[in-house]
Symmetry: C2
Subunit: 405 residues, 2 copies
């Protein structure tokens, strides 16, 4: 018999709790596993021995259904980067102490790039000190920028929200008889996956978005004006999708820095709005989809949520089969009918790498997406959950604040 621990880390998505359900449900089934601990605020909970017995919180199938439709991380999150244990192993000793004391034989870390780095380092350290604790990473990020995996849990739901909102914005933009430009700013600091995914509208007979700009291509304000003018000649209401991370010559990012030392990237939409107003002089507005992109579970993708649960469950099976230092990944077998298989990859090959849009997804002039991109994105947004409602609003699963303190 052994216990296991699971933690959630990084920026919220709609699917992180679904992966938690996957780990939890599979562990419940497994006779070798006794307690299932949830670590509060990612790896910090392990360091500080702040664990919650999940069996006392998640009691019924209804609870699990609610968790599947609850955005963000029910166990809290962190942005904690482990030092190299060769240089400083003090925090590793704390982690080891908790794991030993709690008799934890496997640790599942649901998170993004930094978390996969943690998986890699922990597995290496445990091997070095000969501690038999399996470490498995379960990816998540709306940015979809992890290597090896076909796509990341959480991305499909974000893409579905972006596309649904974009389609509604198209309707909203087309009502007046005067020409207009609407600029929609979409998340993605280095990779343009989410912005690019708005091209799914083209598969539904929409001409919008008429222009799509991603960080993978050099952005030129002159070309942008030319593009906008060209589209204005064809369409009354021009819709532009733009990644927050495209680089503008003047550098929107130059000034403000947030509390984590990250530079402020929100602002490219407003910047381009001003630019169009000054240069073209037409009616123009910008819309920032903001955090709603990562937390709008009410319109999540069932494909995404089901896959996110499945990849968590498979992680448990892999750990029990003896794998460690691995990250769970999707391999796409087919676009139509869409089929994926779940496999593992070596964590060191995923951690600290980024995956960018392939050239073949971006149109010749770098201002739109290709048919090939459409084939990739469309399956990821399919299906809807039967959202459980409460007094007119989607119900969420939450944990008493006092338990998380």
């Amino acid at each position: 018999m052994m216990n296991i621990a699971v933690a959630q880390s990084g920026g919220p998505t709609c699917a992180i709790n679904a992966s938690l359900v996957g780990v939890f449900k599979e562990s419940l089934k497994e006779p070798k596993i006794d307690a299932i601990f949830g670590s509060v605020n990612g790896i910090e909970g392990i360091i500080q021995d702040h664990l919650i017995d999940l069996k006392t919180l998640i009691l019924t199938n209804d609870d699990m259904e609610l968790l599947r439709q609850t955005p963000s991380t029910v166990l809290g999150s962190c942005r904690y980067k482990l030092p190299d244990w060769q240089e400083d192993d003090s925090v590793y000793k704390k982690i080891t102490a908790t794991l030993k004391q709690r008799q934890i034989g496997a640790f599942f870390y649901i998170g993004g790039n930094d978390s996969m780095d943690t998986v890699n380092k922990l597995a290496g350290y445990f091997k070095e000190i000969d501690l038999d604790v399996k470490v498995i990473g379960i990816p998540k990020t709306i940015d979809n920028d992890l290597c090896i995996t076909d796509h990341t849990p959480g991305f499909g739901s974000a893409a579905k929200y972006v596309a649904a909102s974009m389609r509604e914005i198209v309707r909203d933009s087309s009502v007046y008889s005067i020409p207009s430009v609407t600029i929609v700013e979409i998340m993605g600091r280095h990779a343009g996956w989410l912005t690019a995914s708005s091209s799914v509208l083209h598969g539904l007979g929409e001409t919008a978005p008429h222009l799509i700009y991603v960080p993978e291509r050099k952005f030129s304000l002159d070309d942008f004006f030319k593009d906008v003018r060209q589209e204005m000649a064809k369409h009354k209401a021009v819709i532009v999708a733009v990644s927050e991370g495209i680089e503008v010559p003047e550098g929107v990012q130059s000034g403000v820095v947030d509390n984590f030392g990250h530079k402020y990237l929100s602002g490219i939409g407003k910047y381009l709005e001003e630019a169009v107003r000054n240069e073209i002089g037409c009616k123009v507005r910008s819309i920032e989809l903001n955090v709603m992109q990562r937390c709008s579970s009410h319109i999540c993708s069932k494909t995404d949520i089901d896959e996110s649960e499945a990849i968590g469950a498979e992680g448990v099976r892999r750990a029990l089969a003896g794998e460690t230092g691995k990250v769970m990944v999707f391999r796409r077998v087919n676009d139509m009918p869409y089929t994926v298989v779940i496999e593992t990859a070596v964590a060191s090959e995923i951690a600290n790498n980024e995956k960018f849009l392939p050239d073949s997804y971006i149109s010749h002039f770098g201002n739109n997406m290709t048919e090939e991109a459409l084939k990739y994105f469309l399956p990821l947004i399919q299906g809807e959950l039967n959202i459980i409602m409460e007094k007119g609003l989607p119900k969420h699963f939450t944990i008493q604040e006092s338990l998380l303190k």
Copy 2:
């Protein structure tokens, strides 16, 4: 036999097309009514004789279902204020010419405040020239600021989107262990209805939004800082709902300048974010819900959509019964069970007036809402449509662009 015409005007909402369905469906049933004309771009379509025979476009019950879930105005919109006919009747003559030529006996105008002014003026003019064309206004606005009516079609869906998104933002905000403030900017230039409606979360066991600021109360930056500090002592993640229209002493539109030297246009959220960062120094972010508030049909309120259809249908019955110069209104009979009746009001009493939040809805310190507000708002966001999907996204009803030109 007679023909009728219907037009849509003002800013988009999720429910304007549902009211169109109400007018259309009721007119179909009515043996006295022959052609049902849709006027393109509001009253402009009548002025320019740009009408579409709706029976050639809306063919099936499925089309009507799609229209009910399609945001914005399928017939286009306008922002056109009629002059007083006593001063300048040239445009009235054009309108009269179209109505006579097309044998239109009743005109239904779905719109906001300005449109109700149009209803009032047209009815007055037709009386003066002794033209038997009934004019009926069907209200719509997400601002909920029309007098006499208990609430306006379109408001409930906007409130449901705001509340659902707010709840998701609450989850998104609570993941990290460090204290934070999240400021959500909500539409409403003069009246705080939509911002106030976010208080429905309190009826679902959420402590957020912890602070709610509406234009009906004088805003003081000093009091705001005091409020935020007080809430930070109680909650790790403080959520603030603020109307775009609150007045700040410094004037958001005059003072704040971004990194490029541009003045912030939309910006009370960003302004307060900066203010909190400078004064309190904690992690802080602002979110503008933007046009998604008025076009997110994918999470519309069934109560709102059904009522919007019903009020359109009742408008037709009232016109046939001989009423004119009237605006359709809701009178709430009961909160629980929620019951409304549809009546008419004299257009002149609604046009050019605004309705503000009652004092009794706003808490003593002017920074939150009362139980009474909750009772008012909660029924309006109830129920969901079975949204018809297409390749993973809500399907919309659209009219060929060439017909709208």
